[in-house]
């Protein structure tokens, strides 16, 4: 496949992954939903399931309003709505990771009102990177593995798990190369393509995604000319459900050079140590990876990380792309913005997304205005 075909396919998948997921089931795969980048997908993968990411959908809400208040993020609302509408019947089940209060309650609501065969819970500490929480986390990973084993009715052997860890680590290395290309060889791959090619991996077996990324990276002409000058930007936040934001930025003459998204860079940060025992190693990876705002390492770690990313990528502006009503992210926005402005003189824009009332036109207007202020400097 040539590069353009790969990119186009990934974009199409990102635009609407759901028909494709239904097809996976028809082809004999067993898709199991995950919501959060902290899920130890390797365990699910080793048990023979295909972990697939649910990131909401642009849709009007019909069923979920009977269970969730409207002051709740649209990821939770639209995901639940799809499940209740029977549109996710191809799923084997779902795994809920405790991050925010919404996910914590959504797990119970989902379990009570759907009848997928499998329901998994993983309760994470909020204190990461500190010795006090590691034994708890290792035990929680162990218990999660047990719950999957109980469900499939047989053990997940360590060597199978090690194999899956290897596959996922390879995926992280490839993703890292994909992401770094934008700074090491500017112009070779634009932000939209890179982000799409990463996202596509959420909806296929990792081996397949690895092959795809490999083919893409081999096929790229890294010796080519740098493209025309575009305003370099960084996007920070939770997830981009659809390609619209990055696409619009591209249309408006900007390029996303890096991101701090849990559907992006945060997803593949840090490796699982293949020399360690699998459960311990899986726990250590989450514990040491770049923090999501629903976790705590220090009161400064997020800003330090973001400042470094902006400096390394050369971004001239930051777009905070969040879900309305999402506390973890909303709490961090004021200080992150202040510090970006103060330390780097980098302006930022806050956009809140509500998938049930998504408007591309409005998004475009806001982005355009922001870009004008940047190029005006």
């Amino acid at each position: 496949m040539d590069v353009q075909t790969i990119v186009d396919e990934c974009l199409e998948l990102w635009r609407d992954p759901y028909p494709h997921l239904a097809r996976l089931r028809e082809e004999g795969e067993k898709p199991l939903a995950v919501f959060c980048s902290y899920t130890p997908e390797e365990i699910i993968h080793a048990a023979g399931f295909t972990p697939v990411r649910l990131m909401g959908a642009v849709r009007t809400i019909t069923y979920a309003d009977a269970h969730l208040q409207t002051y709740c993020c649209s990821l939770a609302r639209t995901d639940l709505d799809m499940a209740l509408a029977g549109e996710l019947d191809f799923l084997e089940g779902a795994v809920f990771v405790q991050t925010c209060d919404t996910m914590m309650r959504l797990s119970d609501i989902w379990r009570r009102n759907t009848d997928f065969p499998f329901h998994g819970d993983l309760v994470l500490p909020i204190r990461m990177g500190e010795d006090v929480s590691l034994p708890f986390l290792v035990e929680e990973v162990h218990r999660f593995r047990r719950s999957v084993e109980d469900y499939v009715g047989e053990a997940i052997w360590d060597d199978a798990l090690e194999e899956s860890i290897h596959v996922y680590n390879r995926n992280r290395r490839l993703a890292d190369r994909l992401y770094k290309l934008r700074t090491t060889s500017p112009g070779v791959l634009d932000g939209l393509s890179a982000t799409a090619c990463l996202a596509a991996g959420f909806w296929m077996r990792r081996e397949k995604h690895n092959e795809m990324l490999h083919e893409l990276l081999e096929g790229l002409d890294t010796g080519g000319q740098p493209g025309r000058e575009r305003t370099p930007l960084l996007v920070s936040g939770s997830v981009c459900t659809t390609p619209d934001l990055v696409e619009l930025l591209q249309e408006l003459g900007a390029d996303v050079v890096d991101d701090d998204l849990c559907s992006g860079h945060r997803y593949f940060d840090n490796y699982v140590d293949e020399a360690d025992t699998p459960e311990e190693a899986l726990a250590r990876r989450m514990w040491g990876r770049v923090n999501c705002p629903a976790k705590h390492q220090s009161i400064e770690d997020r800003v330090e990380h973001l400042v470094r990313q902006v400096q390394d990528s050369g971004a001239a502006g930051v777009i905070f792309y969040l879900q309305s009503f999402c506390e973890p992210h909303l709490f961090d926005v004021p200080y992150l913005r202040e510090r970006l402005q103060k330390e780097l003189d980098v302006p930022s824009l806050v956009l809140e997304s509500e998938l049930q009332s998504f408007s591309r036109g409005q998004l475009r207007t806001r982005l355009q205005a922001f870009l004008e202020t940047i190029s005006g400097v």
């Binding site: 969730l68 208040q69 991050t99 309650r105 119970d108 609501i109 309760v123 506390e327 709490f331 004021p334």
Partner: protein, 419 residues
């Protein structure tokens, strides 16, 4: 309703006086003294810790640190109709209007020293425990940056079903860490006897408080949960001290006395209703009036009973304390919450339940739709959900809510509910 808008007759006045809860005065004195002491400590070498309402406070008391509760202060600002302006200060700094209004108001108050008592005294360190929500640690991170003081996070993973051992172990390790931190901050050594003593007082106060609440099983109820919302301030802020034990002893005596003399809080009590979620602080007076007019007593709630503890084991004081804090009402799954609601409904003989869907508080509010259905399924009684915010009155639609409450109460009698 007697004397509505008109002059009260002598008899009505006497009756009103008779029904008034006398301990409210003692409570005000206690809280005033507490806030004056806390404010007076600012700038001295006494340590002040800001702490979340569900966090273990006993260690602070045992180390003579003054605990200060932004949530209690938030309720106070809400009741004084001052929280909205404080929220607006925080919003001006970029905090979204969709964040918890306790947090917004507190950040606003820290920035401006605003509110009915001129803000809280500056902390020397912060203690946040996420057993009530995950909002608190984000909020306290912001405070830690603002005041440039250390933050201790006491992390309580969510409990589904029985408390698992690895959560208990993690909690115990953090209790030990907490003590080590306090030793470092205060320069004193951990005195286990002192801690047991404080924990025992906390437990006795919690026990007395639960007996106070249980008095409302009586008909007519000697108080409403609106009174309990006020009377709970000391158990939240000062548990572990002798004063609080004495105070609740007094409250309990008063309640027992009322029961003996058959003094109900309402002139007439026709319906008994269970309340769910944090009070609508700025609207307590109006709602109180409305319920009185509707001859409806809010006899129990899921909120005030969160501070009734049991089971501190003197042999393992830290571990048993840790377990209590791991399993508070907001840190357990919906089924366990439903059990709790059902047991309150049965014990207090309620005719229905009113749930406050509180925009500020997701752990308390998400799941209420399912809980309401479950409540009706289990008890056969109806439930009403009203949407508001505990201290941001901009979200409150008085006319609409009062109409809905009226309709609900009017339909309470003889209702047979099918699910």
């Amino acid at each position: 309703m007697s004397g509505n808008g008109k002059e009260l007759t002598e008899k009505e006045k006497a009756d009103k006086e008779r029904r008034k809860i006398k301990s409210a005065g003692a409570m005000r004195d206690l809280m005033t003294k507490y806030y004056m002491e806390a404010k007076g400590a600012e700038g001295t070498d006494r340590h002040i810790a800001w702490i979340t309402s569900g966090a273990p406070v006993e260690p602070l008391i045992a180390f003579d640190v003054i605990p200060v509760y932004p949530e209690n202060h938030g309720a106070m600002c809400g009741a004084a109709h001052m929280n909205v302006e404080l929220c607006e200060v925080a919003e001006g700094r970029g905090f979204s209007r969709d964040l918890c209004s306790y947090a917004r108001g507190d950040i606003g108050s820290a920035m401006t020293k605003g509110g009915p008592i001129g803000g809280l005294p500056r902390p020397t360190f912060l203690v946040a425990c996420n057993n009530i929500c995950n909002t608190v640690f984000k909020w306290y991170e912001e405070l830690a940056r603002f005041f440039d003081v250390p933050l201790f996070i006491y992390d309580t993973p969510f409990v589904r079903g029985e408390l698992p051992q690895h959560i208990a172990d993690y909690s115990l390790r953090q209790m030990e860490e907490y003590m080590a931190l306090l030793e470092k901050v205060t320069g004193r050594v951990y005195d286990e006897q002192r801690f047991i003593d404080v924990a025992a007082k906390s437990l006795i106060a919690g026990e007395l408080w639960s007996q106070v609440l249980a008095c409302n099983e009586h008909r007519p109820a000697p108080m409403t949960c609106f009174d309990a919302f006020i009377l709970m301030a000391p158990i939240v802020t000062l548990r572990g001290t002798q004063e609080v034990v004495d105070f609740y002893q007094g409250v309990l005596e008063e309640m027992k006395q009322r029961i003996e003399e058959d003094i109900g809080i309402l002139p007439t009590e026709k319906y008994r209703v269970l309340w769910d979620n944090i009070p609508v602080w700025y609207e307590m007076r109006n709602l109180g009036r409305l319920f009185m007019e509707l001859e409806t007593c809010l006899v129990a709630d899921t909120y005030t009973s969160a501070w009734t503890f049991s089971g501190v084991d003197a042999e393992r004081p830290l571990a048993s304390m840790a377990n209590i804090y791991a399993e508070v009402y907001l840190n357990i799954n919906l089924e366990r919450m439903a059990d709790k609601i059902e047991s309150l409904a049965t014990r207090f003989g309620v005719d229905g339940m009113i749930m406050h869907s509180n925009r500020s508080c997701k752990p308390y509010s998400l799941g209420q739709y399912d809980l309401a259905k479950e409540f009706t399924r289990r008890t056969g009684k109806p439930a009403l959900i009203i949407e508001a915010d505990h201290t941001d009155s901009r979200w409150y639609d008085r006319a609409q809510i009062e109409n809905r409450i009226r309709d609900f109460v009017e339909n309470l009698l003889g209702e047979s509910v099918s699910v």
